[in-house]
């Protein structure tokens, strides 16, 4: 029997979030609310030095004087910051030497997520720094990395063991006063990853962190700092899934990348947090500040696949400070049901001969809203700056929306900027063509969407590309008639 549109639709609507489960691990959780005491307590709990506590308090004071921004093209109920617990850590926290020592329940969680640590260890050659509710509990491949002099650990560990590096770089790309959520994050960040690649070292493997939001009612405030010293190279992967929950969860992360002279950083993200159910109830709020700074001849490349979250609000940016530096941004944002995404990038050209490329693909289905918002700015001294931007939107059904808000500011006559944007739908003739050759509608859509997003998918590291393709299919199944 033929698979009809209605059936497809029904199946999609009833499809529960595949990764929606909840691991029961006793947690050590702070009472709800935020004030100076909480910040101090949090800092103490993490055994941080005094300068760090001061830094957090400064951020907290800045945050208190700021107002929550509302310029994005998204609508949501503003989170009550006093109703959030700012610290939650799995309470058994032994220092593991091998995987066998890890809480078996936790290991099971990762298995269900498809991240088998040992398997990844052997097959993919990926070192995984797992962040489970804010505190790192397992780090693999540390030895191999240590031999090369690469530091890859949780940020709290880095604060303790490499204070000089953290102090030198933390907050230099995203300062505390940068924006409302960055200030909040600076005050209360619980954990995150720190990565330092020494001069001239090419990191032999993809560094990867899997985030999971686990404890009910805990906001996740991750802080990531990646420093690539002169002439080094690193590829960093970040991927996330979260259990389904009715209450909105807040995620305000800050990611700082620093590429010194001749260094290259490749930062890839697959984001698949709980998007809420089909009525738009629940889901994660994802308000992230991501920014990279390029020194001379450096290169930073952001690749992101955004399929989850009820509200996404993020702009991975590049500050092209050094001459001849390069910034890239490749993005696929998929929204379905009542999801809202306002995402894009900022390319700030300061140095001479700087280049930037922006490829953004937005796919909206159901009743979702998908916006691209980007800024390309050529400063007066950026001679011969070059930018190419392309943002394409694909609409499925007439209850969703696609929006583009590109800002282009040129202050140098030698700048060359190209920007183009298109909006279209999947052609009936394309689907008919596939049907005619025995490919059912669902597969045909997956095929066409994959083709549409290919330019971006190609930029992902191998393991991620496969996962991302699957995610696209799951997110969009049956959303076209």
């Amino acid at each position: 029997m033929a698979y009809t549109e209605e059936e497809l639709k029904k199946e999609l609507e009833t499809k529960e979030y595949e990764y929606g489960f909840y691991t029961d691990i006793e947690s050590d959780t702070f009472p709800k609310g935020l004030n100076e005491e909480v910040v101090i307590a949090l800092s103490k709990k993490k055994e941080e030095p005094e300068w760090m506590t001061e830094w957090r308090l400064e951020a907290f004071r800045i945050w208190k004087s700021m107002e929550e921004p509302d310029w994005a093209n998204v609508h949501y109920e503003k989170p009550d910051f006093q109703d959030i617990s700012y610290y939650s850590a799995p309470n058994k926290k032994p220092k593991y030497n091998s995987l066998d020592e890890v809480d078996p329940e936790l290991l099971d969680t990762f298995k269900r997520l498809g991240i088998s640590l040992d398997e990844q260890k052997k097959l993919a050659g990926v070192a995984v720094d797992i962040v489970m509710d804010s505190v790192s509990v397992a780090t693999t491949f540390k030895k191999t990395l240590a031999e090369k002099g690469i530091i890859f650990c949780s940020i709290s560990e880095a604060i303790k063991e490499h204070p000089e590096l953290v102090r030198k770089h933390l907050g230099t790309v995203v300062p505390q006063q940068d924006n409302f959520y960055a200030a909040l994050n600076s005050a209360v960040f619980s954990d995150g990853s720190f990565c330092y690649i020494p001069k001239g070292v090419r990191c032999p493997m993809e560094l990867s962190t899997y985030f999971r939001i686990n404890q009910a009612g805990t906001g996740q405030f991750e802080r990531t700092l990646v420093v690539a010293d002169e002439g080094s190279y690193v590829s960093y992967l970040e991927g996330c899934t979260a259990p389904s929950r009715d209450e909105n969860q807040l995620h305000a992360a800050v990611v700082e990348l620093k590429a010194m002279d001749d260094a290259e950083i490749k930062y890839s993200t697959v984001q698949n947090w709980y998007p809420g159910d089909k009525e738009g109830k629940g889901g994660v709020f994802n308000f992230v500040t991501k920014r990279g700074l390029c020194e001379t001849n450096a290169k930073i490349s952001w690749t992101q696949v955004e399929t989850g979250s009820a509200v996404t609000w993020k702009y991975p940016s590049c500050v092209l400070k050094g001459n001849n530096s390069v910034g890239e941004f490749y993005s696929i944002a998929v929204t379905n049901n009542y999801q809202q995404a306002d995402t894009g990038t900022k390319m700030i050209h300061l140095g001479k001969n700087t280049k930037s490329t922006i490829i953004s693909k937005g796919i909206s289905a159901g009743k979702s809203q998908n916006s691209y918002r980007g800024l390309v700015q050529i400063q007066p001294r950026a001679e011969n700056a070059r930018n190419f931007s392309q943002c394409d939107s694909l609409l499925m059904g007439n209850s969703c929306g696609a929006h583009t808000f590109p800002y282009i500011e040129a202050k140098n006559k030698s700048a060359q900027i190209e920007h183009e944007a298109t909006t279209s739908k999947i052609g009936e003739d394309q689907i008919f063509y596939c049907n005619q050759r025995g490919i059912d509608t669902e597969k045909a859509i997956a095929l066409i969407v994959n083709g549409f997003s290919k330019e971006v998918l190609n930029k992902l590291p191998m393991e991620f590309a496969v996962e991302a393709q699957k995610l696209l299919e799951i997110s969009l199944e049956g959303s076209v008639g």
Binding site: W71, N398, G401, I408, K413, Q416, H419, E420, A421, T422
Partner: protein, 438 residues
């Protein structure tokens, strides 16, 4: 006293000069209330992010000129499209000049808004159209509405077409140290009517002038309207031009804006489509030097299926000039099969010039073709070299390339005499004499 206070307090003076029992006066009173509440737009508003009116507010503009300068036709002939015969509606310092004008009531009405407001026979048209498409939320529009009294009134009945194009020209003579004028135009093309309008603001001395104009255009079923705006004013003349266009089924409206002069120029061009098979065209050429600032702010709102819109704006920016382009296309859920295109190309020819562009799409329908393209670049070095190796001077070669660059916009100008005039203005602005007309 700042300009806002001055404007609000002089509303009472203004009331002495108009018929306050006329229904339009209720609209004025409401508008001044709105303006009083919101004041002049500031850079904090997204729509005014790149354009500030602050520098204008420090002048002590006179709102009601005591005396009106006298002009001889021969002195201002060059500002008219004198090569061809046209109807003319001419205002000097905001006051109608019957001496310079040529109006008509022969089958079509080409006359004054003040006349249309005072005569009983126009009452139903005023009631039906006046202030019906102007945005009630826009502060500058409200300011104009509050002081709306004079301007062009053009009504073309069913199936009619005026014999010749209509010129609307505003002169300021500089009898006042600083002058603010607020012309209000109402233009209606009834079913299957057609008309062409050329509009120009011209100050004749170096005294500061601030013009805040509102034009409402209604194109009924099958109507065709071509509107040409020539902006080549003095360095001290600033203009906020708000144009609102309401289109019905099968109508076609085009607006061409040629911005070569002025101090701060802000063009708000808004199209609202109220039927199917509508065609909207927005085109512009901007060539700036000095510290000039031109901001094109366009909106095309597609509210019905099967419509089209075409936007094409070209800009060339020299010296310390600033160009802004903010184009917005909204496609409603029901507006399926919409074709909306937007193109914005810019050339920077000086290190101190700035371009800020924000092409924006908001799309809620799936079966549409919408695109925008925006580029910023330089003249092609190879093409320049090719021409120079064949003995064409650098300046001339650059000018030729710039002509070619802006030619897409010129192509759709339907009045040959105007096309020639614009070409000459471009040559003048670029400082070249090619020895022939393009």
């Amino acid at each position: 006293m700042d300009l806002k206070e001055k404007l609000v307090s002089s509303f009472m003076v203004f009331e002495n000069r108009v018929d306050i029992d006329h229904p339009v006066h209720d609209i004025r009173s409401e508008a001044i209330k709105q303006f009083e509440e919101k004041g002049f737009p500031s850079k904090k508003e997204e729509a005014w992010k790149y354009t500030s009116l602050k520098s204008l507010q420090k002048h002590d503009f006179s709102l009601f000129p005591k005396e009106v300068g006298a002009l001889e036709y021969k002195d201002v002939k060059k500002y008219f499209l004198h090569e061809i015969d046209t109807y003319k509606i001419v205002f000097v310092d905001g006051v109608y000049s019957s001496f310079l004008s040529e109006t008509t009531h022969d089958g079509v009405d080409v006359c004054l808004l003040s006349a249309a407001l005072s005569k009983e026979k126009y009452a139903h048209i005023i009631e039906r159209y006046f202030n019906k498409t102007a945005a009630a939320s826009d502060s500058m529009t409200n300011l104009n509405t509050a002081f709306s009294k004079e301007g062009a009134y053009i009504y073309i009945p069913k199936g009619k077409m005026p014999l010749k194009p209509i010129e609307i020209v505003h002169f300021s003579t500089g009898t006042e140290a600083a002058l603010m004028v607020q012309p209000r135009n109402l233009i209606i093309a009834d079913e299957n009517a057609e008309l062409q309008i050329i509009e120009r603001h011209q100050s004749l001395t170096k005294n500061p002038v601030f013009t805040n104009a509102v034009t409402e255009i209604f194109a009924e079923k099958d109507a065709r309207v071509d509107f040409y705006k020539v902006q080549n004013d003095h360095k001290e003349a600033s203009l906020v031009d708000n144009t609102y266009i309401s289109q019905q089924t099968n109508s076609r409206v085009s607006v061409h804006t040629f911005s070569f002069g002025g101090n701060i120029t802000r063009n708000n061009l808004n199209y609202y489509q109220h039927g199917e098979h509508i065609d909207s065209t927005l085109k512009g050429i901007t060539i700036l030097g000095d510290k000039q600032h031109v901001d094109h702010h366009t909106l095309v709102h597609h509210q019905h299926p099967n419509c089209e819109s075409h936007q094409d704006y070209k800009g060339i920016f020299g010296d310390k000039s600033t160009g802004v382009f903010n184009g917005k296309i909204i496609v409603d859920k029901i507006a399926q099969k919409t074709n909306a295109f937007q193109q914005n190309n810019n050339v920077l020819i000086s290190d101190k010039a700035t371009i800020n562009a924000k092409p924006q799409l908001e799309i809620f329908a799936d079966d549409v073709k919408c695109s925008h393209g925006c580029t910023i670049g330089q003249l092609d070095e190879n093409a320049l070299f090719y021409m120079r190796s064949r003995g064409i001077g650098k300046k001339e070669a650059q000018a030729l390339l710039m002509y070619a660059f802006s030619n897409n916009v010129m192509e759709s100008v339907r009045i040959p005499a105007l096309k020639l005039r614009i070409n000459r203005l471009i040559a003048e602005k670029l400082g070249v004499d090619l020895g022939f007309d393009l």
